[in-house]
Amino acid sequence: MFRAKTNKVLDRMEDPRETLDYSYQTQLELLQKVRRGVADVATSRKRVELQMNQLQQSSDKLDRQARDALSVGREDLARDALTRKSGLQSQLNELNTQYTTLQGEEERLTGASQRLQAKVESFRTKKETIKATYTAAEAQTRINEAFTGISEEMGDVGLAIQRAEDKTEQMRARAGALDELMASGAIDDMVSGPRDDIQLELDRMGASHDVDAELARLKGELSQGSAPREIEASAASSDGAAPGNTAATDGQAASAAPPAGPQAGDGT
């Protein structure tokens, strides 16, 4: 069906040995190009990965907010959070598709790069052999052989690079648009409203919950009245009651004072 074509370079060949060197240069350039292509695709893939992480964090946050809202009985807020989460989820799904595409391109180009490298190395060896044993009579055939194999590979790699460039270009445009959205805060707005209204509402409810708890604690303390003072007093008297064990002289001096009080009081 698709019969391979011989390279047109062959028709233009003058000194075959020069053409060998020239072709080898072209091969090395293509090899550089395909390696750059792999790096470009990897960069785009990482960028999409980063965006996915950001969106995932936002999505997790909305999920937490939905739980918090439900735990304080605010189904309306929870519903709001989940609605926004589903919007993010569809963005995430789209990014995931892009990610898979880029991953595929990366693998394909990596493979192409390895195949081309192997062929370029073979070509170099063959080229040196041909040059060393060069006789005009046999050169044409042997050089033809070397060329046809490598030029076909180069054509294929060229197509692969073209294809990967087209794909990454599309992705880059979309990723750029999404980055701009994120930077402008529009995604944040989408996540949780202009001022994160869900969080504000939860915080407000959380704060009033905290105030209630604080009030309850204070009330509890007041209802126990003098209890804390009694504890202090008993602690002080026990200090006085068991002196000598720790610090003999100081303990003795301190313990002398409290009994003196009551005694004096008794006296009056």
Partner: protein, 92 residues
């Protein structure tokens, strides 16, 4: 013979298998002529799957031209038309 799947590299395929591949090849060509996307896709997938199944990879360093060049996976009918036009197969 050596067959190249664009984007995947070269494979040795026994000449005995050529008949089977030719049938798929003819179907593919017919689909492209009829501009029939719905039969084009499955036939291309089948053709590539058969070549992969019966082919043995050519070692990467081999400098041998292919006798047949097949479009890669995911190729569109437009891509295949360009290949069939015969001029744009190997760019450059």
């Amino acid at each position: 013979m050596i067959v190249r799947i664009l984007g995947e590299g070269q494979l040795h395929v026994d000449d005995a298998a050529a008949r089977e591949l030719n049938e798929l090849d003819a179907k593919l060509e017919a689909a492209v002529e009829r501009n029939d996307e719905s039969s084009f896709r499955p036939v291309l997938d089948e053709l590539l799957a058969r070549v992969r199944a019966i082919g043995r990879p050519v070692e990467p360093g081999a400098l041998e031209p292919s006798e047949l060049i097949l479009p890669g996976e995911g190729a569109t009918m437009e891509d295949v038309r360009k290949l069939l036009a015969g001029d744009g197969l190997i760019p450059g």
